[in-house]
Structure formats: C-alpha cells, structure tokens
C-alpha cells in the first residue's frame, strides 16, 4: 500500500512539471495558434536563471593563503563570496542557501522579456504560415538556445540545491516519507496553475483573452487590440515555463538538454488533454505523470517488460483512438 501511495505522490510531482509546461504550450497554441517547439527551451532557461543567480551570489574575491597549497603546489587561492563579506557569515550563507526561491523573483522579469522578444522578433512572422513551418522554426530556435546555454555553462549538469531547511524528507502521511522539495514543487505548481486560471477567469484582461481565443476576429472588430494581449500571454506562458524550470532545479540538476527531455512528453500531454484546452492540459499532465510512475513499479515491469518506456505513448494512442480530440479538446481545433 505504501508503495502505491509513493507512486501516486511521484506521479503528482512528475505531473506538476508536465502540467506547467503543457499549460504554457496550450496558452500559446490557444491564443496565437502557434505550435511552439521552443517551449521546452524556456523551461531550461528558467532553470539556468537559477544557476545564474547562484553564480552571482557566489561571486567572490580572492585571497592567497600561504599556509595551504593548490594541486600544483602553489600557494592556495581562497575565494570568499561578496555576500558573505557584505552581510556576514550567517546572513550571507543564508542568502546563498535560499538562492533557488530567490531565483523566482530573478526569473520572472527575465522570462517575460525573453518571451516578448521571442514572440515579437521571430514567432509573429510565422502566424500565417503552416504549422509545419512553425514547428521547424521553433524547433530550430530551441536548438540555438540550448547551444547558447551549453557554450556558457558547459554540457555537465550543475546542481542548484534546495535550501537546507527544505532538502530533507517529510512525513506526508503516517509512515510515508517523501522529499520535502518535491512536496514544495507540487504545491508551487498548484499555486501557479491556480493563478493562471484565476487571471484568465476573473480579470477583464483574462476575459478579453478568452474571448479572443474563442473568436479572434470578432474581438478585433470590437476595436480591441487582441494581438497586444496575446503577445503578453506569450510572455506569461514563457514565465510559467521559466518558473517551472527554476523550481525543478533541486529535483534534477539543470543541464542544457533538459528542455528537450520534457518537450516531447509535454506535447503528448497537450494532445492527450486536447489541443487548446487549459484544463485538459493540466489534467493530462497529472494523469500521465501518475501512469508513468506506476509503470515503473517492479511488478509492473516484470509483468510487461519495457512498459515503463512506452506507457505514455501507449495511453496517448488509446485516448486518441477513443477520443480523437483528446480528453477535453474543443471541436474545430487542429481538425
């Protein structure tokens, strides 16, 4: 029983990442009609915002310690971070320790700007082009972005650890211990998903965006500059992907390829949820996350060898056969 509960928890936190990325993908597709293959790269850039802030906070001045030697036998160079020098040992160390949560504030403006520049600078030129062109150009952009990150940060993963206070395990249910940061990630994803839905549901801006998603032409005829709002939605979608990346860093060390690792799965999530359906994307994200976790259980693999590697695609095929529009897909979208 404990094993099943653990896999449900695993599925929920895997699903959190899928849902956040798929939510952004669906927002972009629903508003701008663009199939954005660079969305995984935005997730990766978010994670590297965290790496960047960590490096900024660890910027150090050097002093030579003649009592110690380096690997070549020369006097050792000791590095002391400026934040420790400025704020003292305990405060400075605490700031560095909490660099991932602080990176949320750091990443939001960066991701909004990147999203805005990406949409205005490149993607808007492809609105009226076929989906195949959009896929090609955004996929190319994703490769360019990941190569830029690799050129700056290298190919190896870089750890962005959770704060000490949140890096252990917590008892989520009697007798069930689970990593604290994964619980934080799940709660964080619920907050972000809730905030996006609330923004669309309860604000005038959101109401106009929803109207534009339903009938862009009519909204335009009413004198509303829907393009400007959709551009902002692209920025918000980039921000959601970026925040998902920042918070994912302590779960798996960021590397330049992490966006691609999630991209294909996230597209499957979007298709299973129903193209253009925000609730569908979120529901499918959690559903596929849980199924993937169960498929990795030992007795399941013993029963059907290799099921852990194909479960998501198998479920996608079955759902598309039974419900061609996906779980909550709308009529007329991508048909």
């Amino acid at each position: 029983m404990d094993a099943i509960l653990l896999q449900i928890l695993n599925g929920l936190d895997k699903g959190s990442a899928y849902a956040l990325i798929a939510l952004g993908l669906t927002l972009i597709f629903g508003t701008l009609g663009v199939v954005n293959f660079a969305h995984g790269a935005l997730f990766m850039i978010g994670a590297f915002c965290s790496v960047t802030l960590q490096r900024i906070l660890n910027l150090s001045f050097e002093t030579v310690d003649p009592t110690r030697t380096d690997f070549l036998g020369n006097p050792a160079v000791i590095k002391t971070p400026y934040v420790i020098d400025w704020f003292g040992e305990s405060t400075g160390a605490a700031i560095i320790d909490w660099s991932v949560p602080l990176a949320i504030l750091f990443a939001i403006p960066i991701m909004l700007v990147i999203g805005y520049v990406m949409e205005r600078g490149l993607i808007k030129h492809f609105y009226k082009r076929p989906h195949a062109d959009q896929i090609l150009v955004t996929f190319g952009l994703a490769i360019v972005l990941q190569e830029i990150i690799k050129a700056f940060y290298g190919a190896n993963p870089i750890q962005t650890p959770a704060p000490e206070a949140l890096s252990g395990v917590v008892e989520v249910l009697p007798g069930i211990l689970y990593p604290a940061w994964r619980v934080v990630y799940f709660c964080f994803s619920l907050v972000v998903i809730g905030a996006v839905f609330a923004f669309l549901q309860f604000t005038t801006f959101g109401m106009v965006v929803r109207a534009g998603m339903a009938d862009r032409e009519t909204v335009g005829l009413l004198g509303i500059d829907i393009d400007k709002r959709f551009t902002l939605m692209f920025g918000i979608a980039a921000g959601v992907a970026g925040l998902a990346g920042v918070m994912y860093g302590p779960i798996n060390a960021p590397n330049y390829h992490m966006g691609m690792d999630f991209l294909v799965l996230s597209f499957v999530v979007v298709v299973v949820g129903g193209m253009g359906s925000l609730p569908g994307a979120v529901a499918a994200g959690f559903l596929l996350g849980i199924l993937e976790s169960f498929a990795s259980m030992t007795w399941v693999i013993d029963l059907i060898p290799g099921i852990n590697q194909i479960i998501i695609y198998l479920v996608a095929i079955i759902i598309l056969l039974v419900r061609p529009r996906g779980l909550l897909g709308r009529k007329g979208v991508m048909e």
Binding site: L6, N10, F71, A155, Q159, P179, N252, T298
Partner: protein, 448 residues
C-alpha cells in the same frame, strides 16, 4: 542520322567529371603503395582524435581533446615532455613519430555510434588519419573499433568501460587502456566487504545498454561471491531524467544497498534522487543504507555536488596520485590549462604516447607492426603502476582505484579520495572468462 549536339564545353565538363571520378579511388588509396592504409609521407603523420564535442559528454570530450593536444605537443618536442620523462620505454625523443612531425584532425562523436563512425570514416578517408582514438561511450567505442578494423587503421580507445569492448566485440586493430566493468567489480568487492560486511541485500538500477548490462553482471557476480544477495535489478531507459519512480520501490524492497549502474547525467540524477528520498539516512535490516556507484568520474562527481559525499566507487586514475608519472602529467596539464586533468584526459594522453612508442619500437606505421609491438607490451611510469597490454584481448591490466566522495573537499577539484589502490593481479581475469566470451580478436588488418 548522327548525333551532332556535342559542344566544346560539354566535352570539357564530361571529361573533367570522368577524370575526377577515375582519380578519386587513386586519391583515397594513395597510401596503398606502401602496403597499408594512409601511410604517412616523410615529413608529417596525421592522427585522428574522435571525441564528443557536442552532446551530453562534451565536457569530457573537451578534456580529452586538451590531453591529445598536450600529447602532440610533447611528441613534437614542446612543453616539459610530461609523462615522456617517466615512461619506462625511452624511445620517444620529442622529434615526432619516426622523425615525422605529428599533426592531428578532430571529429565529433556526438556520443552517437553512427555519428562517431561517420567522423572516423571522414578522418581516415579525407584527412589520411593513420590512427583513430578517443570517445566517451562504450557504444561509440565498439562501433568505431569495428570501423577501424575494416579500414585497416589502429584504434586506441578512449573512455570505454563495457566488458564487451575487449570482450565479445574485441578487434585485432583495437586497444583499450581504460579499465572495465569486471575490474571495477573485482576492485570494489573486497572494499565493500570491509566497509559494509558480507550480509547485504543489493538493489541494482542499471542503464539499459551494453555498458550497464556488463557492469551490473560484473558487480552482481562479485558481490554475490561475498555473500550478498541481489534483491532486484531494474533496467532504466538511457533517456530517463527523473528516477524517483525507480527509487521509490527500493524503499520497500528489503534492500540495504543501492547499486547505481549509471554514468554521466543518469548517474547525477539517480544519485540526486536517491539522496532526496533519504536513502542515505535510512536504516534497513539493522544497518545503515548504503549507495554504491561502481564507475566514478570527477567531472560527473562535480555535477552531483554534495550528494557524492561518502559514496564509494571506482576510477581508472585520479590526479591526486603521487607516483612520478601522475605528478608529471598533472604538472604539464595543470600548468597549460589551469586545472587538473580528468581520468578521460589521462587515458587519452597515455594512449597517444603508447601508440607513438609502439610505432617507434616497431620502426613502422604499418598497423600489423604496431599491433605486434603493443601485444604483450609491459610498461610503467604512466600513472597506474606496472601495466601489461595483454596480447589475447588487447586489454591493459593495471592497478584500479577505489575512491569515495570526499566529506570535506578543500577545492572544487578535490572531490574524491582514494580509498585503496587495488593491485593489477587482483583485477586480472583469464582471457576465456565467460563475461568476455563470444567474440574473436581476429587478425590485424593493414588495409590498403
């Protein structure tokens, strides 16, 4: 009626194309006159360095390339000579190889077998490389080794740890200096017994490809011989990034040791996930739960950060060794690049010197002469103690290091501490060991 639409330009164009077509095979096999592929001219010789310059192992590839450039510099008489001064064979004199200046071309394996073969093929056919070396994956090593055998050039493997490279996929033109899964297991087993006892239940997570399978087989056999029980072995997809759903079942399995047969990004993520789930602080069967990572790499250890502390594994070489060869190499490399070399850099540097030495001792670049010079060659002064290049399978037999993640590192490079230097005799196996069965070395191919 006769065809009269021939033009002067048409005839010239057709003639040029036909001429080029006829000349091409001659160009590609220009060396055939010397009796072997890509025989060098009188002034230079070209080596092909085939390393991952893109993809997940690009950092290791970059370190390999640094080592190759350093080796070329030393062979051509530049720098401080590095290990040439400590190498037991003294035939290399800094004038290149057999009086020819060493030049090199590079290829990008991308850590993909097909890409690695394509770049090696290009270096052999277009650039005239007489020896191919490098790589950071067993899949790549096996693929390129096969290509070199067919093409008639020598392959000096880089970082490849699968038993198969010098087991069922061994080739007469291929040589491996790096250790393998069997040797890791043979070196680790006594240390694991000393640290954790002989009543343990081990749970294996294994990367689902040739290296993972052979390593798991080796470790399971060695630990079971101690009295350990292998509770389970779960194959994980190479593309997996989140291992939480594989770690969770470990908690209820009754196992008290988790063996991670993972390398690279897989290792960083699976170890991180295992630590997140509190395995390191867990008590099972009245014992502390332990994690073992049989193949360690300092570059990867850096990626795993704090999680590596206290974890036991094995490595081919480490920069902190204090023998004269290691000190000379670390000094050369560290002075040139500003940081210590990795084990990948070490094995690539050594392989280049060993090839140059074999050619010089043989007095010929002919691959069959080089094979003869390397087979059964015994040497020292290269950082791993007395070493034998065994004739039967072209595998080097030398000391293996058992290491542990350092609890209190003094610098960003000081991540691993050497727990034991396992003597070569303890990791040596017979050529007909079942774990290495299934292939034939065959005979050397000089190509042409």
């Amino acid at each position: 009626m006769s065809i009269t639409n021939l033009t002067r330009r048409g005839v010239l164009r057709t003639g040029a194309v036909a001429g080029a077509g006829l000349a091409l095979p001659t160009y590609l096999s220009a060396a055939s006159h010397s009796g072997f592929t890509n025989a060098p001219g009188d002034s230079t010789v070209t080596l092909g360095f085939n390393v991952p310059q893109s993809g997940p192992y690009a950092d290791e590839g970059a370190d390999e390339l640094r080592a190759y450039e350093l080796a070329v510099e030393h062979l051509n008489g530049g720098g401080d000579g590095g290990m040439m001064g400590t190498f037991s064979s003294k035939v290399l004199d800094g004038t290149g190889i057999l009086g020819r200046k060493v030049e090199y071309v590079t290829g990008d394996t991308q850590t993909k077998s097909d890409a690695a073969r394509a770049s090696a093929k290009s270096m052999i056919e277009k650039d005239g490389a007489i020896m191919i070396t490098g790589g950071s994956s067993s899949g790549v090593a096996v693929a390129v080794q096969g290509l070199c055998q067919e093409a008639g050039v020598i392959f000096m493997a880089g970082l490849t740890h699968s038993n198969d490279t010098t087991g069922k996929d061994k080739k007469a033109n291929g040589f491996r200096h790096f250790f393998n899964g069997y040797m890791s297991a043979a070196a680790l087993a006594p240390v694991l017994e000393g640290l954790y006892g002989n009543d343990r239940k081990a749970y294996h997570l294994t990367a689902d490809y040739t290296w993972g399978w052979t390593q798991q087989e080796s470790i399971a056999a060695a630990t079971e011989a101690l009295g350990w029980e292998t509770v389970n072995n779960v194959l994980t997809p190479l593309a997996a990034t989140d291992f939480s759903s594989y770690i969770a079942p470990v908690l209820d399995s009754g196992a008290d040791v988790l063996v991670l047969n993972h390398y690279g990004g897989n290792m960083v993520n699976s170890l991180t996930n295992a630590v997140q789930f509190g395995l390191r602080n867990k008590q099972v069967n009245g014992k502390n739960f332990e994690i073992v990572v049989p193949l360690f790499s300092r570059l990867m250890a850096r990626g795993a950060g704090e999680n590596i502390k206290g974890i036991v594994g094995s490595t081919n070489w480490h920069w902190s060794l204090q023998d004269e060869g290691s000190k000379a190499f670390v000094k050369s490399f560290g002075t040139k690049y500003g940081f210590p070399p990795s084990q990948a850099a070490h094995t690539c540097y050594v392989q280049t010197l060993l090839y140059a030495d074999a050619v010089t001792r043989a007095g010929s670049f002919n691959p069959c002469a080089v094979v003869e010079a390397l087979e059964g060659f015994e040497f020292d002064g290269m950082g791993n103690g007395p070493t034998l290049y065994r004739a039967e399978d072209h595998q080097c037999f030398k000391d293996v290091l058992v290491v542990r993640g350092k609890e209190n590192p003094t610098s960003e490079f000081d991540l691993l501490e050497v727990v034991e230097v396992t003597p070569a005799a303890q990791v040596t196996y017979s050529p007909d060991n079942p774990m290495f069965a299934g292939g034939q070395l065959g005979s050397c191919n000089p190509g042409a």
